[in-house]
Symmetry: C2
Subunit: 343 residues, 2 copies
DNA sequence: CTGAAAGCGCTTACAG
DNA sequence: CTGAAAGCGCTTACAG
């Protein structure tokens, strides 16, 4: 049995497709109450689902928003197995759906920017996660669609931005460590990029140090990639300097690797060394000891992203820049040492 | 500047839209070499991307495959923050894309089966992850689309199936524990459902026990949900029975919770108790000690799912039932005790 | 309040 | 080998 169309409804309701379209789309001013009732009954009875493909073609609104996330480095897989992206995408999808939209996911790597799927499907708007080279931004921009950048510091009025107060958050995290008696505090992070969050978190770390009269020591700073393996790799360097009593990692994934590496070297956490993370991905609470970290409310941010872009699409006034708050989650990976005062 | 269409190409190439369509779609038998060349040049020059929405409408193939994953229990979020689903979806997406398809993601919970997005977008096929009630299967079936079920044991010729040999895998895992000298082995899992994988893994566990002359003790079996919290909850029960020297968890997420709970009770892993998982999600290697587990090659399975459904769509003969192999990954959470022989 | 007509961007018989 | 025509399922002016 072929799928029921607007024509079928029209025929059995003895009206025209125009009228059916009007009641389906809630243009009630144009239809009598009686007709509305009747058409609705027929719709319910025949089990009609609008063909979005046809709608999209004629109205050029697809009710689709494209979401761009990075590919894995190696094999062109979506970075969805990274819990950060998994959770973020989950939040985006749910608020998109709540607002009558659907998500079209695509991956990018720096070398291969393929926006074709978005063009083919006529997406109404874009959300992009991650930081990229200029080429990506200019490509995206040329699509001329409402676009929301998450965690990017590129300056461009064309884009909406959803960010954290990264500098402040890192400042607070570092201060938390200092308040717990630590003075030799390592900073471990992904590569510092001008347009990225790490640069800001690094600034926050430095600011907190200097505020408390602690000299900045470049030897304590490690930057590589946002990955478990990198954290693990840094562990031996940190373990070999007993003066270091704490490490602030700019991503939980790094903190996880660092903890694992440190533990394999026989160091106890937090007795021998304290570790603090950033993000609050779900893994953190599964570790032993559980990770103390900066919560950025990933899921909620994803939802904000979805409703923000959706509001913009609905023509509502939406701020170009939105910041969401962070909080420190104290768990078990940070120890108080010396005669430190506790907050 | 409006988007370039097939008409634009036709006009500037001085041919008809029919001809343009023929060259774009590779129906070369119908067009002269010269025309092909020419049209291609114009296409490249004008920067044409086909409007999939129009294609889909007329040809009723959308090049979209719907992927159904469970919602979280609480709040209608996709279970993408669960690393198992994240990784699986990542694999599916990449092989779909490699075969010229795109993914449309939707969530389901038992109470609320909304297949409308798939209807609206005219998906060509379906992949469903997880086990559900009959209602879901009959709804999906009535869509009358090629459908692949992952990890389901419902019997229905309408569906393609992609499974593990769950019983065998659990048998091997349990035997591995026995080989390492363990005899009081706990089984911790999600709820046992007739159509699900847990029932098979439980069978494998029992079979391995009986094969080695170890009596099955129902008190050692814990079933709840596939979650970190459930594993953690079971920890105290297991810790309180010192005769238990090992636990086989039918999911890594459970094993993670169990380890954390056990460690909080002051038990050392694997010295005091061994823990074995199932799945090989990325978290396992991040734990300390790293989790010994059954690898099911999640990413590769996702890729298989994508290429299987894609082959079926291409009209190729595809087996109705496919099984992928598992292997045991030895890491650090299982100890050899007594005078056990090692494999 | 209701309907006839055109058209969105394509593909697909069919004719020549 | 090339083209004229119809039509996929809708929405949108426009007329009445």
């Amino acid at each position: 049995m072929a799928r029921v169309t607007i024509k079928d409804i029209a025929r059995t309701a003895r009206v025209t497709p125009t009228t059916v379209s009007n009641v389906i789309n809630g243009r009630h001013a144009r239809v009598s109450k009686k007709t509305i009732q009747h058409v609705r009954q027929v719709v319910a009875h025949l089990g009609y689902t609008p063909n979005q493909t046809a709608r999209s073609l004629v109205s050029s609104v697809s009710k689709l928003v494209g979401v761009l996330i990075p590919f894995t480095e190696d094999r062109n897989k979506l970075l969805l197995d990274n819990p950060f992206y998994g959770e973020m995408v989950s939040g985006i999808e749910s608020s998109l759906r709540a607002n009558g939209y659907h998500m079209m996911l695509a991956g990018i790597d720096e070398g291969n920017i393929d926006l074709a799927p978005f063009l083919q499907w006529n997406v109404d708007a874009l959300i992009v996660l991650g930081v990229y080279q200029d080429l990506l931004y200019s490509s995206v921009r040329s699509l001329d669609l409402p676009t929301l950048l998450i965690d990017s510091y590129v300056r461009d009025d064309h884009f909406f931005n959803l960010r954290l107060d990264d500098k402040l958050a890192a400042h607070q995290a570092t201060t938390h460590l200092i308040d717990n008696g630590h003075r030799r505090i390592s900073f471990v992070a992904g590569a510092i990029r001008e347009d990225g969050v790490i640069a800001r978190r690094h600034e926050g770390y430095r600011a907190a140090l200097s505020e408390r009269g602690i000299a900045y020591d470049p030897d304590l700073v490690f930057t590589g990639s946002v990955s478990f393996d990198y954290g693990k790799k840094v562990a031996s360097a940190i373990a070999s300097d007993p003066s270091i009593t704490a490490a602030f990692c700019a991503a939980d994934l790094i903190a996880t690797g660092l903890m694992s590496g440190l533990q394999m070297e026989g160091r106890r956490i937090p007795e021998d060394i304290s570790v603090m993370g950033f993000d609050n991905i779900s893994i953190g609470k599964m570790l032993y000891p559980a990770l103390t970290t900066v919560d950025q409310g990933i899921l909620a941010r994803g939802e904000s992203a979805g409703s923000l872009i959706t509001s913009a699409l609905a023509g509502q006034a939406v701020p170009k820049d939105m910041r969401t708050p962070t909080t420190i989650i104290e768990r078990a990976s940070v120890a108080t040492i010396g005669n430190a005062r506790r907050g």
